[in-house]
């Protein structure tokens, strides 16, 4: 097989370079089998130590930029007392030992990788260390208590005797697996809690990292699929005469999602796909457009929805209030636009199969591929490649890109790589849903909030229905996440929702519901501060006094940003804070407004994720999440016209580039609270921080995204 040990890269002696990084070594026969025997020590599904003292740590999460390839091994290595400089890292296969605590499947999502693996990986490392110590004690015939470990070596301080983990591997395999090995106290951490550079830099700056798109296996063919341009449309008929006559075209076949062309190169497949004459039955949605959908959503948002939560009597409090802020916030569909367009390679070998792809949901993808091929899931080997971005799109609830590629390759007997063009990817749905919130906030004489009523209109996320296996009725939890548990003190909170049916498929998009609820909440309370004539930072600090973590973060960004300082005409600061995925993030944006031009000059960010396992990685995720959100805030929208997505590429779906990227400063507060996630929580506050800064700079209150003046 072409992709295997070639993937190893011995880096330079520079920072990240001293590591070797293994990828794609099948471990299915070994994972989860404690004490597999032989000379190799495999105490659990995460560690493998061979007699040459090479310590391999297995990563069961998908590396999509968020740095799991570094931080998860770091946790194991800490408790194992492994030599970090020589640790090997390897991507896992599909195995129940790696299932998420939330669902019976492997899942990289919900910003959960570190905090849901923390205990498991620490125990994995500590258990292995205990067994290595046991082996040394046995072979030297000394009490285990007096032995010490460091950098993959066990030593006996009394005799000066030492043995490498590799030398002890065979004997360690015969040791009983301890029930409960003690974990290190935080004060003894040598790796965790300190800035650690990425292990995958070396292979990513040299082009050696293999993404799904880069899969090359002998005999491989290439496919492109013509899919219905109108959402909800179906195939009527097609004429492949011209396409079939084109060079390199091997086969044209119908698949459930459309018509596939299999050729001997990606380019030839795409060209022939474009030459297909396809007649689609547009179905009921050929005239659908987002302009009229928005009208419909606005009207609905003014009517009573399904009541999710009702605390206190909004009507009575509002009637007695000094004033009621009554506003609507509007959000477009958003595409994830991962840098790497979707793709998946499938080899149906007749009775068994292999799948290569960048995915966040291995178990579900494998099961679906197996069902299509008529094989047991175990007969399908799924190789997780590096992901050129995920952001939720590669946690496709219905495994759309894997399912389609499996249909394309089914019965072909050779590997077939199905590649989506950028346009296929961007127009393929699975968006952050278009959303309208109608909010009413009643304020007392001092401008303090009394009662809040919010009604949201949007649609179901495919993900929740598929994962939970239940039909969602009345409301989707993402419609109100962040609102139900919001921190501002109000005597009455009412949350209502309308669910709209639409053929436009929707999915989680980096920070999911918080992408809109944080904007609505933090803009609304900014409006309240201004209505009260109080500085928005002071207003928040006052209202959130009962929440020390919020206060600490706000105080932090207040100092970092020099809040209150004199600013040039047309420049303003905006603040926002949001708790999501177990972490709290406060951000201040400095924005300059010149005519119609909005320029975000600088962003200050303070994050409390409880404990930062790799502070450098946390800062990098904040930087990334802020730019990702900023692209959406300034530019992102998918509009629908005649049932089709209008935007197809980065010309009409622009994103922030180097020349518009603000400088970002991040500080971390290790509050010691329960550990939270870091991949997503940086995104929600940037929308309102920028919006509030635009207001401060220009007096214009923008309630509709993307921002435009």
């Amino acid at each position: 097989m072409a992709i295997k040990r070639r993937e190893f890269l011995k880096g330079s002696a520079l920072a990240a370079g001293a590591f070797t990084l293994g990828f794609m070594i099948p471990i299915k026969t070994r994972a989860g089998q404690a004490g597999a025997g032989g000379d190799t020590f495999v105490p659990n599904a995460f560690i493998r130590i061979t007699p040459d003292n090479s310590v391999t740590i297995i990563v069961a999460k998908s590396e999509m930029g968020q740095n799991v390839f570094t931080v998860l091994p770091l946790i194991v290595a800490e408790e194992l007392d492994a030599d970090w400089e020589s640790v090997h890292v390897e991507q896992s296969g599909v195995n129940a030992a790696y299932n998420s605590p939330w669902f019976p499947m492997m899942l990289t999502g919900g910003s959960s990788s570190v905090y849901t693996s923390w205990e498991t990986l620490r125990k994995a490392g500590a258990t292995a260390r205990a067994m290595l110590l046991g082996a040394a004690a046995q072979s030297w015939n000394v009490p285990v208590e007096r032995l010490a470990t460091r950098n993959s070596v066990v030593t006996d301080p009394e005799t000066g005797q030492s043995a490498t983990y590799g030398e002890l591997a065979a004997l360690a395999s015969t040791q009983p697996v301890p029930e409960d090995s003690p974990l290190k106290p935080e004060s003894e951490f040598r790796l965790v809690g300190k800035d650690q550079m990425r292990l995958d830099s070396g292979i990513k700056v040299t082009g050696k990292a293999r993404f799904g798109l880069d899969v090359a296996v002998p005999g491989m063919r290439y496919a492109a699929v013509a899919r219905p341009p109108v959402f909800g449309a179906t195939l009527k008929s097609f004429n492949a005469t011209a396409a079939t006559a084109m060079p390199g075209v091997i086969k044209v076949k119908e698949v459930p999602s459309g018509v596939a062309v299999i050729a001997d190169s990606t380019w030839r497949a795409i060209k022939a796909r474009d030459a297909l004459e396809v007649d689609w039955d547009e179905g009921a949605h050929g005239s659908r457009n987002t302009t009229s959908m928005l009208e419909e959503y606005r009207a609905l948002a003014d009517t009573t929805g399904f009541v999710i939560m009702q605390e206190g009597d909004f009507g009575a409090l509002a009637a007695a209030a000094e004033q009621v802020i009554d506003v609507r916030y509007e959000f477009p569909f958003l595409a994830h636009a991962c840098m790497e367009p979707l793709n998946c390679t499938v080899h149906d070998q007749g009775g068994s199969a292999e799948v290569w792809t960048g995915t966040q949901t291995q178990t579900a993808d494998r099961s679906k591929a197996a069902a299509i091929l008529g094989y047991e899931p175990e007969a399908v080997q799924l190789h997780t490649m590096f992901l050129g971005g995920g952001f939720g799109r590669r946690a496709a609830a219905y495994s759309d890109f894997v399912v389609e590629a499996t249909h394309v390759a089914k019965g072909e007997g050779v590997p077939v790589k199905t590649t989506w063009t950028r346009e296929d990817d961007m127009r393929g749905g699975q968006y952050r849903p278009m959303t309208v919130h109608h909010s009413k906030l009643a304020l007392d004489k001092k401008g303090n909030p009394l009662a809040w009523h919010n009604c949201v209109v949007s649609q179901v996320l495919d993900g929740f229905e598929e994962l939970t296996g239940t039909k969602i009725e009345n409301f989707d939890s993402s419609q109100v996440e962040g609102l139900k548990e919001q921190a501002y003190p109000v005597q009455s909170l009412t949350l209502e929702a309308h669910l709209v049916e639409s053929p436009i498929t929707c999915l989680w998009w980096r920070s999911v519901g918080h992408t809109h609820t944080a904007f609505l909440k933090e803009t609304l309370f900014d409006e309240a501060a201004h209505a009260a004539g109080i500085d928005p930072m002071a207003y928040r600090l006052n209202l959130l006094a009962q929440h020390p973590r919020f206060i600490a973060l706000l105080e932090k960004v207040k100092v970092m940003s020099g809040w209150g300082r004199e600013l040039p005409e047309g420049t303003g600061l905006g603040v926002a804070i949001e708790e999501s995925f177990g972490s709290i993030v406060a951000e201040v944006a400095q924005v300059k407004v010149e005519g119609k031009k909005i320029r975000v000059e600088k962003v200050w960010c303070a994050v409390d994720c409880g404990f930062a396992v790799n502070p450098l990685g946390v800062r990098e995720q904040m930087e990334s999440a802020i730019i990702y959100g900023l692209s959406a805030a300034l530019h992102g929208q998918i509009t629908i016209k005649d049932g089709k997505a209008v935007q197809g590429n980065f010309n009409n779906y622009p994103v922030v580039r180097m020349d518009a990227a603000p400088e970002i400063e991040v500080e971390i507060i290790n509050s010691g609270a329960k550990m939270g996630g870091i991949g997503e929580p940086g995104t929600p506050p940037i929308f309102p921080a920028v919006g509030n800064a635009i207001f401060a700079a220009s007096g214009k209150r923008l309630r509709s995204l993307p921002f435009g003046i």
């Binding site: 330079s12 920072a15 990240a16 040299t206 082009g207 590096f386 590649t419 990334s624 180097m658 990227a661």
Partner: protein, 155 residues
């Protein structure tokens, strides 16, 4: 029709339609998958390679138009170990998902070759053609400054 391409110092005969984008010849025909596909229409820079030392978007170069010119890809630029740019990238912990990074490194390498001490504005102008959806722009900026310093022996 066979076309002779000079890539990373080696000549390869390739048998493809003359209008095939260089990107797909590099990736599918020559197996040089370090060069990435991101947009196909000169909008993202993921496919950046050097043709006679200049940064170009290989997705928008017809293979027949290259002629005798020398093509360098990410595989060629680092054939003799890490370059200063790549070292700077590692030291600044630039990469995240990494998918844009071959293109970023190629674009920055060409920039520094033409302009050994680029200002922030020079960096904006040269690098704004390369999208990074992970948003690592400020680390790229720092890494370019660092590479400039390393090149001039200042560090």
């Amino acid at each position: 029709m066979s076309i002779l391409l000079s890539v990373n110092g080696t000549k390869y005969p390739v048998d493809v339609e003359p209008d095939t984008p260089l990107l797909w010849v590099l990736r599918d025909t020559l197996g040089l998958t370090g060069t990435k596909y991101g947009c196909g229409v000169s909008l993202c820079g993921a496919c950046t390679v050097h043709i006679d030392g200049k940064a170009v978007r290989s997705c928008s170069v017809k293979v027949s138009s290259v002629g005798e010119q020398e093509i360098t890809t990410i595989e060629g630029v680092s054939a003799n170990g890490l370059t200063i740019v790549q070292q700077a990238w590692i030291e600044e912990d630039v990469v995240q998902c990494g998918f844009c990074q071959s293109g970023q490194v190629m674009a920055a390498t060409a920039l520094l070759a033409a302009n050994p001490k680029p200002s922030d504005t020079d960096i904006d102008d040269a690098m704004k053609r390369n999208i990074c959806r992970c948003g690592v722009y400020q680390r790229i900026r720092k890494a370019i400054h660092r590479a400039a310093e390393l090149n001039s022996g200042e560090v």
